[in-house]
């Protein structure tokens, strides 16, 4: 009963936050509401027994997307106020689509096809990790994950074409010292999330997003001035996840006993996955940071 009440409140809050984020006239308010919506969505995923998604949503949906929206707002020349659509036509359209979707979702069988989960549990001991989500992401369907890393890199490459006019203001001493205090903690948490991914919810994307949030905070406080795409080492870090992934795949293709693309031998699978995930974490963190902060111009700190 208590949980049902909680679910009902959560569902209402999620819908309310989504609505207010869309209809808010002030863009800053809209972004804040959107971040709150992200946190509530993370809770909703947790309630739906999908802790991996909850972690990713909390780190990316609530955290980094918010930072991305705020840096985009700062780049706007003048305060923009969004015009709220008054026409009823789009609302009717959305309502119609929602109704059709709800109707079809209703028909999804309550108990999913057991063949796949059985297959996963049979193959799990050979995958090198104990957590099925990590096994799917980095072993059974690692090709998808490789391409997803490429999508992230492409987002950065695309965003670089747009001129950035972000100015970093001289650090406020309190936020500066706070960001410095925060960074060891974030590195520790990142390592923990990454390591935990082998056996429980966690892994490269969540850890990378967390590390990126730490880097973004430091960068916005005018720290880490070397963090720029022009720096070849930074480029290497941003590409390292993909490079290691592809090279490991090539190694498995050319020199392993089975000679299959992206096939990890059972004995080494755990180590291979941890290696790929570590570099992927680094790459994701650097890419997301560059995506949020770009190549800012800095204002000199006055004492």
């Amino acid at each position: 009963m208590g949980l049902l009440l909680f679910d009902l409140v959560l569902a209402t809050v999620v819908l309310l936050l989504a609505g207010t984020a869309i209809f808010s006239r002030n863009l800053t308010h809209a972004v804040m509401l959107f971040m709150a919506f992200g946190v509530m969505m993370a809770l909703a995923w947790a309630r739906l027994a999908a802790p991996d998604l909850a972690l990713a949503e909390a780190a990316i949906g609530a955290g980094l997307t918010g930072a991305l929206c705020f840096t985009a707002l700062v780049r706007q020349p003048a305060a923009l106020d969004s015009k709220v659509a008054t026409s009823l036509l789009p609302i009717c359209f959305v309502a119609l689509i929602t109704a059709a979707l709800l109707f079809s979702v209703w028909q999804i069988p309550v108990s999913p096809n057991p063949a796949l989960s059985h297959e996963v549990s049979v193959a799990l001991p050979q995958s090198g990790v104990a957590h099925p989500v990590t096994a799917v992401l980095l072993n059974f369907r690692s090709w998808d994950t490789l391409l997803e890393l490429l999508v992230l890199l492409l987002a950065l490459l695309g965003a670089q074409q747009a001129q950035s006019s972000l100015t970093l203001y001289a650090g406020w001493s309190l936020s500066l010292s706070w960001s410095r205090l925060l960074s060891p903690l974030i590195i520790l948490l990142t390592g923990y999330l990454l390591w935990r991914g082998a056996a429980a919810p966690g892994g490269a994307f969540q850890a990378g997003a967390l590390l990126a949030s730490g880097l973004v905070v430091l960068r916005l406080n005018q720290q880490l001035t070397w963090l720029s795409w022009q720096n070849p080492w930074v480029r290497l870090a941003a590409l390292s996840g993909l490079l290691v992934f592809v090279l490991t795949g090539l190694f498995s293709l050319l020199w392993s006993s089975s000679r299959l693309w992206l096939e990890w031998p059972t004995a080494y699978a755990g180590a291979v996955i941890l290696g790929i995930e570590s570099f992927a974490t680094l790459a994701i963190a650097v890419t997301l940071t560059l995506l949020v902060v770009g190549e800012p111009t800095e204002e000199r700190a006055d004492a």
Partner: protein, 473 residues
């Protein structure tokens, strides 16, 4: 399958190295493009000799793994994209200094090739989504290379493309929830004709139609393709819109339950007629030369739609052959059109169709390339376009669809009208637009190459048809 793997990994690795060492970019690009073309030729031969090849990535069983399959259509498409990539890279190398082509072009175009090859090979609904997403991102990034003026069309493209991806993903999620598998051959024949499947298929189809710029969901295409630099427009129009088309054909020929085929065929037919006639008229009316070529892409995609609709309703092998012939002929012809128009725009310093006056005198080679490619778009013999249209006419005759025969004739006249609109102006030599600088020969020859290739398709019609028929038997 190691050949197919090479086709994906080589451009991918090359692009990563280009990002690391921008100085090596041009050499790497050319080397990767050449290597890919050779590998694709070898793969086509292999598939012809030994039949279609399969690979389960990572060696897991079909339910867990992602399936790659290289059948003869896939092998042809792999070769087509490798060849076009090579030709466009050559053109880009020849003009990069003059046109101030951004350095990001090299890694991005290599990534475009990698994601396309991955898409042609994949037979997994979710992996296809990732490939689509990748393709969309690369395409948008490539459009932005034109600088500030391209930002608006690129942003529109991005938003449409993301919305389309989400539609597709939602459809796939519904199917996955209902059937618990993502592998296309495993799902074949499993789908029941209920409203869940219908909703999923509608979502998938809408998403893909939006991505493939099928009329009436084509609104983002003309602006985006016209704003991009010439080599990019060539790649986008020739290859990128074919990716979603390929998935659409896969979904409707392998997944869809038989009960839905007729309705879908009617819907596709209406869209095809709209594209062929209305987009053709739009191409006839637009004042800008690049927009004309972009609208012609929308119109020409109508033939592919028509072939798909006929495939679904008549189940005749000729229509499958016609569809892929159209795809190949259009890709080569459109690349030649965009490259030659781009070359004329740069040299003459003009944007409007009317200002191409006298181009047959000032830039005869580029104009010749445009005319030859245009001939294929119209369907004049001897060309790949003629071959495709002929195969389709034969099929229509077999199926006794005389009304569609008439429509095809009208559509041909419309495409002839917009091609001749340019060609006639180019032969009006009274007061030719003077070039800004003396026309360069090499880029014009490179623009002519795809046009000659589409010409050559007519001479290889028997082997091409044999390859495509092999697929069907």
């Amino acid at each position: 399958m190691s050949l197919a793997l090479g086709l994906v990994i080589i451009p991918l690795l090359a692009a990563l190295l280009m990002l690391l060492w921008p100085r090596l970019a041009r050499g790497l690009q050319l080397a990767a493009a050449l290597l890919c073309t050779i590998l694709a030729t070898m793969l086509l031969q292999l598939v012809q000799q030994e039949g279609s090849q399969q690979l389960f990535i990572g060696g897991w069983n079909p339910l867990l793994a992602i399936r790659w399959q290289a059948d003869s259509v896939t092998a042809l498409l792999l070769l087509l994209s490798a060849v076009l990539h090579l030709l466009v890279s050559g053109y880009a190398l020849a003009v990069q200094q003059r046109d101030k082509l951004a350095a990001a072009f090299w890694p991005l175009s290599s990534l475009l090739l990698a994601s396309l090859q991955a898409l042609w090979l994949s037979r997994d609904l979710f992996n296809l989504y990732v490939c689509l997403e990748l393709l969309g991102m690369v395409a948008v990034a490539l459009v932005t290379l034109s600088g500030d003026k391209a930002m608006r069309p690129a942003l529109h493209y991005l938003l449409f493309s993301l919305f389309a991806s989400l539609c597709y993903l939602l459809g796939v999620a519904l199917l996955y929830g209902a059937y618990g598998a993502l592998d296309l051959p495993l799902l074949q024949g499993q789908l029941q004709a209920n409203s869940l499947t219908a909703a999923a298929l509608v979502l998938i189809t809408l998403g893909l139609m939006l991505k493939a710029a099928w009329w009436p969901l084509h609104l983002w295409l003309p602006a985006a393709h016209a704003a991009a630099p010439a080599p990019v427009s060539a790649l986008l129009s020739a290859l990128v819109v074919k990716g979603p088309l390929f998935i659409l054909v896969l979904v409707w020929t392998t997944l869809a339950p038989a009960a839905f085929l007729n309705v879908a065929a009617y819907a596709f037919l209406v869209c095809a007629l709209g594209a062929l006639l209305l987009a053709g008229v739009a191409a006839l009316r637009t004042p800008y030369s690049k927009t004309l070529v972009a609208y012609s892409t929308v119109a020409q995609l109508g033939y592919a739609m028509l072939a798909l609709a006929l495939m679904l309703s008549f189940n005749l092998p000729v229509f499958t052959a016609a569809l892929w012939l159209f795809v190949m002929a259009h890709a080569l012809a459109k690349a030649a059109c965009f490259l030659s128009i781009g070359e004329m725009q740069q040299t003459l310093g003009v944007k409007k169709v009317a200002q191409l006056k006298g181009a047959s005198q000032t830039m005869p080679l580029a104009m010749f390339a445009f005319a030859v490619a245009g001939g294929s778009l119209i369907g004049l013999p001897p060309s790949g376009g003629f071959l495709a249209k002929w195969v389709m006419l034969l099929g229509l005759w077999q199926a006794q669809q005389y009304f569609l025969l008439l429509v095809l004739l009208v559509a041909t006249l419309v495409s002839a009208a917009y091609i001749f609109r340019v060609v006639v102006l180019a032969f009006d030599r009274a007061e030719p637009t003077a070039p800004d600088f003396s026309p360069q020969l090499l880029p014009q020859w490179l623009a002519l190459l795809p046009a000659l290739a589409v010409w050559a398709m007519a001479f290889f019609s028997m082997p091409l048809l044999a390859i495509l028929q092999q697929e069907l038997s």
